[in-house]
Structure formats: C-alpha cells, structure tokens
C-alpha cells in the first residue's frame, strides 16, 4: 500500500511539474478524463498517434524548408496540422512554437522558419520524453495494483 501511495504521489508531483512548466495543458487532462474501463488505453493510443504524426510532419517540414523554392503555403499547412495535433493533445509549448512558426511563414522568412522548426522540434522531443515518463509511471502504478489518480 505504501508503495502505491508513493508512486501515486510521485505521479502527481511529476504531472504537477509538467503542467507547471507549461509542457501540457488542460487539454491533456480532458484526454485523461476519457480514459475509462471501456477504453483504458485511450490516452496512450492518442499520444502514440501524435508521436507518429508529429514525426511525419517534422520530416515533411524539414523537407519542405530545404527546398530550393520554399512553398510557404505547404509549410503553413503542415505547421497548421502540427498545431492542430499538438493542441488536441494539449502539448502547450509545441503549440506555441507552431504559432510562432506560422507567423514566420506569413512573413516568408526562411531563417525565421528554420529557427522555428528547430524550436518546434526541440519542444516536441521534450514533451515526448515527458509523456513517456508519464506513461511509465502510470504503468508502474497499475502494475502495483493501484489506481492512477484522477487529475483535475
């Protein structure tokens, strides 16, 4: 019992800090709410989909930006997608990075875009690692037989 309590506390603290640092926002919590008995892995599924999607998008962006003639519309569309996904997940910082990216796109500023892409990538990897840790913690709790605390 103590172990579970400790794990839960650890989990809560971690989530608190992640939230605190702005990596995740309320949308993520909304997703958490959707996890129930009929759909225990909903969040995991969504998140893994996000990961895949994001990898693809990042690759696409990189490709698009390294073209000779940059098709800003295309870049914009990709960034838009990325923004959409990240906001659906609740990856706050990623979303913000995307917003910046879009303004650079509007300005058709290639340096800015590249910088933004780096930013976005960095944020994405950060949030990815955080989410992985989160999932590991959840697995630990569930393995110990406890219940993952519901966050509000």
């Amino acid at each position: 019992m103590e172990v579970i309590g400790q794990l839960q506390k650890q989990y809560v603290d971690f989530v608190t800090s992640v939230y605190h640092e702005g990596f995740l926002d309320d949308q993520f919590l909304e997703l958490q709410k959707l996890r129930d008995d009929s759909n225990p892995n909903f969040v995991a599924e969504v998140v893994s989909l996000f990961f895949d999607d994001s990898e693809k998008l990042i690759n696409n962006l990189a490709t698009a930006l390294h073209q000779q003639v940059v098709d800003y519309k295309q870049v914009d569309a990709h960034v838009h997608q990325f923004k959409g996904s990240s906001s659906s997940i609740g990856a706050n910082k990623v979303k913000n990075a995307c917003v910046d990216f879009r303004s650079s796109c509007d300005l058709k500023n290639i340096e800015g875009c590249l910088a933004c892409l780096q930013n976005v990538k960095r944020e994405y990897y950060l949030v990815k690692s955080k989410l992985e840790i989160l999932f590991r913690l959840e697995e630990q709790i569930m393995a110990a037989g406890g219940v993952v605390p519901m966050l509000a």
Partner: protein, 739 residues
C-alpha cells in the same frame, strides 16, 4: 244565792267596762275564727306550703281560742253550768292544743327562719347575677362594637378612611369626648397630630417623641391611663371644666415584611402612632377594664389595617411601575421590529437593486470579452470582470451573512450530483489556477455516493470559497481537493473533541480536505480566520483582497449542514489545509432521485440524451480526429470518423444526427461540406445538425458559419463538458445559440 247555778263574776260588773270587754271578746273571737279561714284560703291558693300539719294544729289552736273567747261572751252575765262546762272544756282543749302547738313550733320555727335566710340569700344571688349579666351584656356589646369597628376599619384599604373610621367608631362606641391620633413625623423625632374626631382640621400640633408619658405608652402594648394634662391630651383649649379621664394606646406602624399575627416583636426601632381617647368631661365616668381592652384590640386592628393599606399602596405602586415598564418594553419591541423590518426591506431592495446592475456589468463584460479586443483592452475588460465578480461576491456575502445572522436562512435541500459538484468547482477554479500556474487535483473516494441530498448551491459556495482561498493564497504549487465518506471513528476536529459524527440511516458525513502549498497561516491566527471581517495581520496578505466574510459565511453554512470546518497550518509559508465535514442525506432510491434531478438540472448532466447519438466527425488531422472521437465516445455517442468532405458525403446517411466538421483550415473549403449537406437534405426535415470545430471565433468565422448554414460552432480546444453542453443544447433547441 239562788240555785241558778250561775257563776258570779269575781269582780262587780261595771257596765262600761263590761261592755268593752264584751265587744273585744267578740272581735277577738271573730278574728280567731277568720284567721284560720284566711290561712286555709291562702294556703289553698298557694302551691307549696310544706307545713300543713302545723297549720291544722295552729288552726285548731286558734279555733279553740276563738271558741274560748266566744264562750267567754256568755260568762259575762250569769250563765248556766253547761256554759261553764263548755267553757271549761274549750279551755282545756285549747290548753292542750296550744301546748302541743307550742311544742311543735319549737321544731318548726327554726325551719321557718332558715327559709327566710335562704330566701334572702337567693335574692342576693339573683341581684348578683343580674349585675353580672349586665356586665356580660356590656361586654358583648363591646365585642359587637369591636367587630363592627374592625369591619369598618378593614373594609377599606385606604389609609385615611381607616383612621377616620377608627376614630369615629371608637367615639361612638365608647361615647368619647375626643379621640385623636398622633403620627410620627418623617424624622421620627416628633409626633404630629394627624386625625381628630371632633375638630375637623387639626392644626399641626407636634410634640417631641421623647416625652416620658409617650415612652410610657409606647413601652407597653396595653392601653394606659394618662394624665389629662399631658401634652398629648390637651386637645381642647383648656376650659373650666374637669377634663374626663384619658387613655392612650400605641398603634404599631408595621413594616410590610415583618408582621405576624399574634406575636408583635418588641423592637425599639419600631415606629408607633399614639391614639388618645378622652372621656367626656364632667361625666364622672371611669374607664372600665373592658373598655380598655376594647381600645387595645382596636389599636391592634388598626395596626393590621394600616399595614394592609401600606402593602396595597406598595403593590399598586409596583404594579404601576410594571405597567409603565411594560409599555416602555412594548414600545421598544415595536421599534426593534420596525427596525428589523426596515432592515429587511432595505436588504431586499438593495439585494435586487445591487444585483441588477452587477449582473448587467458582469454579463456585458463577459460578452465584451468575447469580442475582438486589443490586448490592452482585453486586460482592462478582464480587470473589470474580475472586479465586478469580486463585488458581486461581496454583495452576496454581505446579504447572505445578514440573513444567516438572522437565523432566517434555511437550506434548500434537494438531490444533486455530488461528483459533478466537485468537478464543477474544479472547472470553475481552473482558469484562475492555470493563470497562476497552479495545479488542481481532485480525488473523490470510491465510496462517495454519486447523488446526495443537501443544499447544492451552498455546498458549492463553501467549496468554491475554500478552494478559491487556497488558490488565492498560493503563488505556486498545487491545490488538492479530496472528499471521503467519514467512518464513525475517523478524523475529528482537534478543536472540538466532543464532536462525534454519527452516521444515521439515510445520512452520511462527507469529509472534504483542501490542501494548498501557499502562504500558510500563523497558527495563532487560525481562530481569527473564521471571524467576520477580521483580516490576516501579515503583510503578505495585504493585497489578497479578501473581504473577510467568506470564511465566516462558510462556517455558518457548514454549521447549518451540521458539520464542522477548521483550518490547519504549520505556519507561514508552509501551506494550509482547510477541512470540513458536512452531513448529507442519501437519496432514497436512485431511480427516484433521477427524476427531480433531471428536471432541475442544466444541460450539463444530460448524458442520456447523447447516448447512441450517431455523429459523423470530419477532420483532416489524425490526432485531432482521434481525440474528438474519444470525447464523443466517452459521451456515449456512436462515432464515425472521416478525413475529408468527400468521404463524409459518402458515409453520410439519414441516421447521422450531427456532423462535426473541423473548419480550422484556412480558406473556405471547409465550409463546402455544409453546402453539400444542405443540398442533399434540402427537402428533408431531419437534416443532420452541422457543428463546426474551429480554433477561433472571430467575426469571419462566424460570418462564414451563418452564411453556410452551420448550426453551431465549437471553439477548440474541446473539452468533454463543452461538447456535452453544446450537443445537449443543440438537440434541445435545434440551434446553438452560443459557444
């Protein structure tokens, strides 16, 4: 001598002498004969005469003596021997009888004499008895007088009447010349002539109280004969006549509290009045004992009557005083009631008057928030909104508190969803918390019932207040809310160790704990926290902007819900925990509880409406599509997802009630779907509702939405509650009024 056989008298017959003798004898004889006749006659007449035998003897004696004298008549002249013999016989007989009588009389006469003495004795006795009867009658009359006097005296409770009546009646009964009453003055040093019988207006004579004669009278409870020359008795101008005898008696003026009927305590601190009675002058009347006794009795009665009169006066005075006080109290009560009513009216009016503008301000400010604003404007509007919310809260608090103080506040008991109450609270607090980067966690115990019976509104108010405080006073960290059902032996308020929680049938106690990592409270100030208007002294909280009322109201509400509330803190900077327990009811049957629940509740909770609802989700973004699908499935909808409008139209069927389209792609392509859907269902009535999912609700988007016939708009990011609300509203009204 001849032989006439006569007897010659001895002496020579003198004619005259002879004749006188003859006549005397005759009369003697007559008398002798008549006396017995008289005797017999009278004895016969009288009833009792014990000596009949003596009478007979006496009669015989007298008859014979008469006979002798009668016969003697014949012997004056020559008479025959026969006469002589008769004469002799008679004489002999007479002698015998008279001797016998004489002998008899020796016995009789002492008796007769004693009769006489007895008679004398009896007469004396009778005279004595007469005298005594006279006395008794006098006494009885006196007694009657006393009774009448007493009756007169006691028939009135007016002091003056009592005294006047006393004097009058005494005067009448005892036939007094003058009767007067001397009362002690206020100072007690003098006696003042207060009442007299004959003189109508007594001139205010006073005599000092220390006179020996007065002391003499006051020292005994009997009536005392005093000299007519003493100052108290000199009531008339001195005249030539001999003043009558004077008697004086003391009349105790008793204090209300110490009178016992047969036991006048002999205290020198008593006050006495002096009653003086003067017999008529020149009457040579003496004071009889019974009269003195009468006077004493009367004096006592007067004393008693005066005490009663005094008591009555006292009680009348007390009663008047009480009546006055009563009137005053009544007036005060009416004034208080008026004041209370005025205050209530004021509150009611101000309630309405204050709330209406507040509502206007808040409503319009929030509407303003939703329009296009520059960042400065937005900031201003947010400030306005925040301030007006604060003000509204303050107004509510003040009004609530005054109602709470009254005791007129009653809980609105009803069935409500406990779980959703907590979620609502967290949802409400989240914006503020997220601004401050605070993390809010909620953990509800597994055995916490979903539905409970209680005052939902006020419980929410309490919760909001506490959670709001937790958020307000925390600059960083987290706020955790936990709710459990209390077992009988679990946590008790350390400050109220006598408070026992007894779960009864149909009720349970909920224990809520709100822990924050904020400023903390100085342990000494914890007790102050629940006091009205008391602010925390520390400078840290200077700009916290609390009115000081919130916790006081919470405490009252919690108490009304039969619970306790307290705060624990380890000190400044160490965070604090607010804990409260409330008593809630368990709804009798969950089926039953659903009905009132469903009637009164807002669109929030209408989950059942959405179950089985066929929704078509159109979204190009895979992640977003999945999230939306998850949300809708959680709501119980039957979700189909497509990633393009073409696919949508392919899959769309009559069964789909709602189409959720993500229109966040720039340009107008996304609205294409709406057009085509309208085209397809132009003839049918049950066209599926089209809801647009968009990242911004600016004018352009709104314009497009209305242009292309979109029924509703949802702002991304979507939350569970948002979707639920919107769908419910859509389905209820057929059109979405706002996001």
């Amino acid at each position: 001598m001849e032989s006439c056989n006569c007897i010659e008298p001895q002496w020579p017959a003198d004619e005259m002498l002879m004749r006188y003798q003859y006549i005397s004898d005759f009369f003697i004889a007559l008398a002798y004969f008549s006396i017995p006749l008289e005797l017999i006659y009278f004895v016969k007449k009288s009833a009792v005469f014990p000596y009949k035998w003596v009478l007979v003897q006496f009669g015989a004696f007298i008859v014979l003596c008469g006979a002798t004298h009668l016969i003697n008549l014949w012997t004056f002249n020559a008479h025959s021997r026969t006469v002589a013999i008769v004469m002799t016989t008679a004489k002999v007989l007479t002698a015998v009888v008279s001797c016998a009588t004489a002998l008899m009389l020796v016995h009789i006469i002492p008796d007769l004499l004693s009769v006489k003495t007895r008679e004398l004795f009896l007469k004396n006795k009778a005279a004595e008895l007469d005298r005594e009867m006279g006395i008794i009658r006098t006494q009885e009359e006196t007694g009657r007088h006393v009774r009448m006097l007493t009756h007169e005296i006691r028939s009135t409770l007016d002091r003056h009447t009592i005294l006047k009546t006393t004097l009058v009646e005494l005067g009448r009964t005892l036939d007094l010349e003058e009767c007067a009453l001397w009362m002690p003055t206020r100072t007690g040093l003098e006696l003042q002539l207060s009442y007299t019988l004959r003189q109508q207006n007594p001139v205010g004579f006073t005599v000092p109280i220390q006179l020996p004669v007065i002391n003499q009278v006051f020292s005994t409870n009997r009536s005392v004969k005093i000299s007519p020359n003493s100052p108290v008795a000199r009531l008339r101008s001195p005249g030539k006549y001999m003043p009558g005898e004077v008697v004086a008696v003391r009349v105790p003026l008793l204090h209300l509290s110490n009178f016992q009927i047969n036991d006048w305590p002999e205290l020198s601190t008593k006050r006495y009045a002096l009653m003086v009675l003067i017999l008529p002058a020149d009457s040579a009347r003496q004071w009889h004992v019974h009269e003195l006794e009468l006077v004493e009795v009367v004096a006592d009665q007067v004393a008693v009557a005066l005490s009663h009169a005094a008591i009555l006066e006292e009680s009348m005075r007390a009663r008047d005083l009480l009546m006055q006080q009563n009137v005053a109290l009544d007036l005060a009560r009416r004034e208080a009631e008026t004041a209370v009513r005025a205050r209530n009216d004021f509150l009611a009016v101000m309630n309405h008057e204050m709330r209406t503008p507040m509502h206007a301000i808040i409503a319009l400010s929030s509407l303003l928030q939703d329009t296009e604003l520059t960042p400065e404007q937005r900031l201003m509007v947010e400030t306005v909104l925040k301030s007006s919310n604060l003000l509204a809260t303050l107004i509510n608090d003040v009004l609530d508190l005054s109602r709470l103080e009254d005791g007129s506040l009653q809980l609105d008991i009803g069935v409500f969803n406990l779980h959703s109450l907590f979620k609502e609270v967290t949802r409400l607090i989240k914006p503020i918390a997220s601004v401050k980067k605070l993390f809010v966690t909620l953990s509800l115990a597994a055995d916490l019932p979903e539905f409970a019976v209680g005052d939902e509104q006020r419980l929410m108010q309490v919760l909001l207040n506490i959670v709001g405080n937790a958020v307000k006073f925390s600059k960083e960290g987290s706020v955790s809310i936990s709710a459990v059902v209390v077992k009988a032996d679990s946590l008790k308020d350390p400050q109220a160790p006598d408070f026992f929680l007894l779960p009864t049938d149909g009720h349970f106690y909920m224990h809520v704990q709100v822990k924050d990592t904020g400023l903390g409270i100085n342990p000494q100030e914890i007790s102050n926290v629940f006091t009205k208007f008391a602010q925390n002294q520390s400078s840290l909280s200077k700009n916290s902007g609390g009115s000081g009322l919130g916790l006081a109201i919470c405490k009252r509400f919690v108490n009304l819900m039969e619970g306790q509330i307290w705060i624990e803190s380890e000190g400044l900077g160490k965070g604090s925990t607010a804990i409260f327990t409330v008593k809630l009811g368990i709804p009798r049957r969950s089926n039953e509880s659903m009905h009132p629940f469903m009637q009164k509740v807002s669109a929030n909770e209408v989950q059942t409406n959405l179950s089985g609802l066929k929704v078509l989700v159109v979204d190009e973004n895979g992640v977003s599509r999945m999230v939306t699908k998850g949300l809708l499935m959680h709501l119980g909808c039957d979700v189909t997802t497509v990633s393009s409008s073409d696919e949508c139209l392919r899959v769309l069927s009559q069964d789909h009630k709602v189409i959720l389209v993500d229109v966040s792609m720039p340009g107008e392509d996304s609205y294409d779907i709406a057009v085509r859907v309208h085209e397809r269902f132009s003839n049918c009535l049950d066209r599926p509702l089209i809801v647009a999912l968009t990242g911004s609700t600016d004018r352009v988007t709104k314009g497009n939405c209305s242009r292309f016939g979109i029924d509703g708009v949802i702002l991304k990011p979507v939350s569970l509650d948002k979707i639920r609300n919107i769908f419910s509203e859509l389905l209820q009204h057929g059109v979405l009024l706002e996001t």
